[in-house]
Symmetry: C2
Amino acid sequence: MSPLMPAAILLAVLSCSPPARGADTLHSWNSGPTRSAVIQFVRDVTTEGGPGFVPPSERIAVFSHDGTLFPEQPAPVELAFLMDRVKALASKHARWKTKEPFKSALSRDLTSLAKSGAPGILKLTSGAHAGMTTAEFDATVTAWIAKAKNPRLYRPYNQCALLPMLELLDFLHLSGFKTYILSRGDAAFLRPWAEKVYGVSPEQVIGSSVRTKYEMRKGISVLVRREEFDLMEDGPGRPPAIFRSTGRRPIAAFGNSDADLEMLQWVAAGEGRHLVLLVHHTNGGNEFAYDRKADFGRLDKALDAARKNGWTIADMTKDWNRFFPRTGK
Amino acid sequence: MSPLMPAAILLAVLSCSPPARGADTLHSWNSGPTRSAVIQFVRDVTTEGGPGFVPPSERIAVFSHDGTLFPEQPAPVELAFLMDRVKALASKHARWKTKEPFKSALSRDLTSLAKSGAPGILKLTSGAHAGMTTAEFDATVTAWIAKAKNPRLYRPYNQCALLPMLELLDFLHLSGFKTYILSRGDAAFLRPWAEKVYGVSPEQVIGSSVRTKYEMRKGISVLVRREEFDLMEDGPGRPPAIFRSTGRRPIAAFGNSDADLEMLQWVAAGEGRHLVLLVHHTNGGNEFAYDRKADFGRLDKALDAARKNGWTIADMTKDWNRFFPRTGK
């Protein structure tokens, strides 16, 4: 066998298969314009010599997390974690009873927590975990996500990722894309489980971040979580955060709320072929139905913009036939 | 042929070849303990079933840029760029004649610029380029790096990367590593050329960053550079910056100055097999010779720490036999 054979075979596999594999991967997507738009986009950017071809190194896609890859009702998963953590730690922090957003977390006042937004989430996590090493925080998140359940879906959080979106991630990975997940909360909350659930490595999670401090503890170098944090602002703050991490404009963006509007506009304004997709939560039977008036994940201006600009809309009821992986799988 | 063949061949190539290829890749490294330490480390972390094995997804390596991958004398490349830019733009900014660090940049006062450190670099680039879109800045950097030369090495900056380190990057890439470059300056300065020169994609450049603002210009979404910046502090600021970007502790770190000390300590404190290497500039004939008293890249405490802790030291004179690629190659 020629020593060049494996590379040649590999190249053949990589360059020929993505468009063909697409139809196989997107099981939970109904046939129709939405599924076709996704497949056509991938076919275009992966067809060498074609007018839409994009080299693999530039195939960058970003996904908003809450509401796009993962249910965000009755509360975003990071908030569920933080309500549990604040409760568990409350006996050591008497002031939390009267201090926001801790007070609302203790009373599980979701409307008030929704109003406190991403800064509220960051205040809760940085306040509750200051002084912990990053490794200790990591272990705390990992232990929690292995056990906690979404109270309305009756399923473990580690099996709550939306199946059609997992298929879409697989499809993009098979097609040479590098995918990023955008968290408005602390990236350190998503990173310990993003690889297992989404196949997205920790360094491809972008978001707010709790600052850390380099310290020696018992002669060992560690990073310790501080109370200060760097906030990724919603809306117009998202494109700068993506650019800061990646140094470029992605060619595909997936969102579900007004907080994603500017990110979608920015990706839509890129030169060359791009895909901009909005997930619309229309299925209260299988997941949740909400848009213009939701506490979490309000979708109002971005829905109008999507319709006006002809962006792709994934209507859960029309476009999806399964929502979650089988439990235990 | 079985449809599983290509994957099987690929797997064989990936899992067997790195240790064997190592010796082939590191041409410019002399035989001896330094070269052997690098090869042994890579062999250990890539040998499946061995005690030092690290899965590919966790093979993260970080390289300081100035002085480790690239000569930093008589001035770091970003400072050379900024001195040229400030000169070119000075007629529009009368105040720069009396305002630091612009004044020192105009008079090419390297000692003063060295003292202003990374904050000085960030002030220069954010001040000189505020209002530009990120795409315009990218084009400016790309045009400059294609023409400018290092005044003491008489070679174009785009051919100044240190050949032994390029070989080391290749070796690590072949061995399944994901490599990061650390820039104390604005990551946006390195990103436009990091892929071409180092094979490191823009999103794997970590550093300080000039903030950007999302704007619509002529109906198109763009990011515009602002005067504000987020500084990556030297020394103890580096591990938090790496953690913020990657979410984990790398298993290999390469530095050359006291600014890298804490990064090296942090990586050395990791569980499992790791490699910590210090580049020591000892060759004034081929490159530059400097350490404990240099304006740029002072190496004093980190040299003592490396010797005390048995870290690997690449002594340019002892360990390298070639320094740069052939010009024009």
